[in-house]
């Protein structure tokens, strides 16, 4: 069993936590697992990419065209990491854009419609999720990572069940935000069931 997952997002969105949750769940299920990510304050609001490799004996970084799953926390960041996704892979992407400061300043443009169209044309199974709305509905916009984990855990693509993922997620969170994240995770699970 081998599974390579890339999580693409913006600093502060919780990609690192999401990657740790997936890797620890894999370890608990008896698979070797590795992650690699850029952490540190230098990534504040910058692009971040986390790699999760399940069942690998190789390094922690996923090569281009090799990822089975791309979990996009943000559309532009999903596109930025699109080269890693393999033909026939799976893309789960939050549709809510985060405009970088460069857009507000007018030195960059954010062509959302084109990005959407491009991602839809990728040779992959693409699922769009309004993760931001779901996170808000759970009570805290910062639970986007829990929403997206819920979506992924219900997709049937992981070698372990959604309850296992939720259990590890809750273990890794401080007590006071567990309830809101549990709600967010459940809302994410809902997406796949209905859609």
């Amino acid at each position: 069993m081998r599974l390579d997952i890339v999580i693409a997002g913006v600093g502060g969105q919780g990609t690192v936590l999401a990657s740790r949750v997936l890797a620890q769940t894999a370890l608990d299920a008896g698979f070797p697992a590795r992650t690699s990510e850029m952490i540190g304050m230098a990534q504040r609001e910058g692009s971040v990419q986390s790699h999760v490799r399940i069942g690998t004996e190789f390094g922690p970084v996923i090569g281009s065209g090799a990822a089975d799953i791309l979990l996009g926390f943000e559309p532009a960041e999903a596109q930025r990491s699109g080269n890693l996704l393999k033909n026939g892979g799976m893309l789960l992407v939050n549709s809510h854009p985060i405009h970088p400061v460069t857009v507000a300043l007018g030195s960059s443009a954010y062509p959302l419609a084109e990005i959407r169209a491009y991602l839809d044309r990728l040779p992959a199974r693409v699922t769009w999720v309004d993760g931001f709305e779901l996170a808000l509905a759970s009570g805290n916009f910062k639970t986007l990572n829990a929403v997206m984990l819920g979506v992924l855990a219900s997709s049937g693509a992981l070698p372990f069940g959604r309850d296992a993922v939720l259990r590890v997620l809750l273990e890794m969170l401080p007590e006071r935000v567990r309830a809101v994240n549990e709600r967010a995770f459940a809302l994410g699970c809902q997406v796949v069931k209905e859609g």
Binding site: G46, G59, N83, A109
Partner: protein, 598 residues
Amino acid sequence: MGKKLLMGNEAIARGAVEAGLNLATAYPGTPSSEIIGTLAEWSGDFDYYVEWSVNEKVAMEVAGGAAYAGGRALVAMKQVGLNVASDPLMSLAYIGVQGALVVVVADDPGPHSSQTEQDTRVFAKFAKLPVFDPSSPEEALAMTKAAFELSHRYQLPVLLRPTTRVCHATSGIEFGPRIPNVPEGFVKDPKWVIFPRLSYQQHQLLEETRLRLEREFSDGPWNPLTPGDRIGIVAGGVSYLYAREAVARLGLNPTMLKVGTPHPLPTAKLEQFLSRVDRVFVLEELDPVLEEGIIALAGQVGFKGPIYGKRSGHFPWAGEYSADRIQSVLARTLELAPAAPEPGAQDVPPELPVRPPVLCAGCPHRASFYAVKRGSRGSNAIYTGDIGCYTLGNAPPLSMVDTCLCMGAGLTVGQGLLRMEPGRPVFAFIGDSTFFHTGIPGILNAVYNQHPIKLVLLDNSTTAMTGHQPHPGMGRTACGGAVPQVDPVAVLRACGVEWLEVLDPLDLPATEAAVRRALEYPGVVALVLKSPCVATFKATRRYRIDSAACSNCGRCLRELGCPAFYREEKPQIGPSCYGCGLCSQICPKGAIGEVGRS
């Protein structure tokens, strides 16, 4: 117990614990910071001492002292930090230790968050000290334990050099038992005093040790040789794992030598390797340390085959390697069929917005930069920056960092600038942690040599860039103990700074006025702008724009660069607003007001 997911840095901490660690010191620096952070977190469970020192030189010397007394000591830093600590390191190599001293220096090929890509293996060679180069978090743990053991046995500092992809990668780690070490205490001896005659002796000893280590490493487990066909691959660090992935993808079966101890090189093992192959690929990030060693050895043993590496132009000298990169060089050089085209390559992607890291929403540094910018408008001032989150003040729209060299240099580079262009004001920004690290000597120099620098101390009461480590200004140690708080204002006064004001930068008019007063003053000036880092407290309010009152002038969007702003028809403030109130102070229409946190 099952395997626990640990970061490479946590695995190093665990390795130190299992090796019977007695003392650990560091100054935070990405990608090394979590080693000490983790040891501090675990300090309640084990009997060792751990501290955040004020800089790497101090950290090295404290750890060295502990090792003089038979302790097992660890000191950690990033590659740039080793420059600061190089003075004691070079001498410690000669003096040696009684217990064990493991020097962990995290390198940053890429680089992802550093001023340089410098290669610590070269430093190890320069210092004539053994160095371990782990390829994964699991191996980082094993090598940490081995480094302690080796250091104790040879009474010599030993380096461990993980890179970002080891430090910040995670893996499933199994814990082993802790074997405690009881320091025997310091024993007085002339050998602890470095005199020229002793240095000469020690240098000879060091060279003999190097030869002994060469043999030990050739026989030991850290440089495994995997036999295959006559294509040879030598790889160090994470490149070894990339190489294995690349050869698996290409279906090759090369003879592989993994070098875990790049200095001293396991020469006998390398000779064995060369006898089995007719060409060699050398895979290592940054400097050609292995490659140059192999080229020299090939000359000595008469190996005639080609050696493909950096010197041959096959691999890049700068930046990170990857399995992809190695695969394509192997395929090209060995004339294998080209890899399949990358998916999506036939489609032209839309151009993406640039997304650089920026100061957080509500970051008080934004207010400080903005106030100094406004207060010094028209003065032709130069703004020297320093290392920390506030380096991000260089980005537009603030554009307030004209120079940035290394820790503490903003202040001193500014003094040089002043001497060349007297009369042109220089504002030097420095953070509180950097002030304690190497800022104080710079201030002393300014006062003593009468360089009328305008210091702006951005005091957010933490070391924010690397993950909020405490420092002497916080009244709290690495493990959370309460200690006397050192007030930077009192330090500045004691250094002889006469004109000094303390303000809250979020009070924009008052700060701007102070900047104007500072401009008038002819001598050394210090503005202490104090407001806590937003990551250290919970927001209790946020701001909103009254769209009816907003004239859509765009000033709030254009001038501050706060990431909470976005534009619909008119500017809007999103949920990431931290409620600093800076924008409400610059809106000409008074359209931005406070609302409670939902």
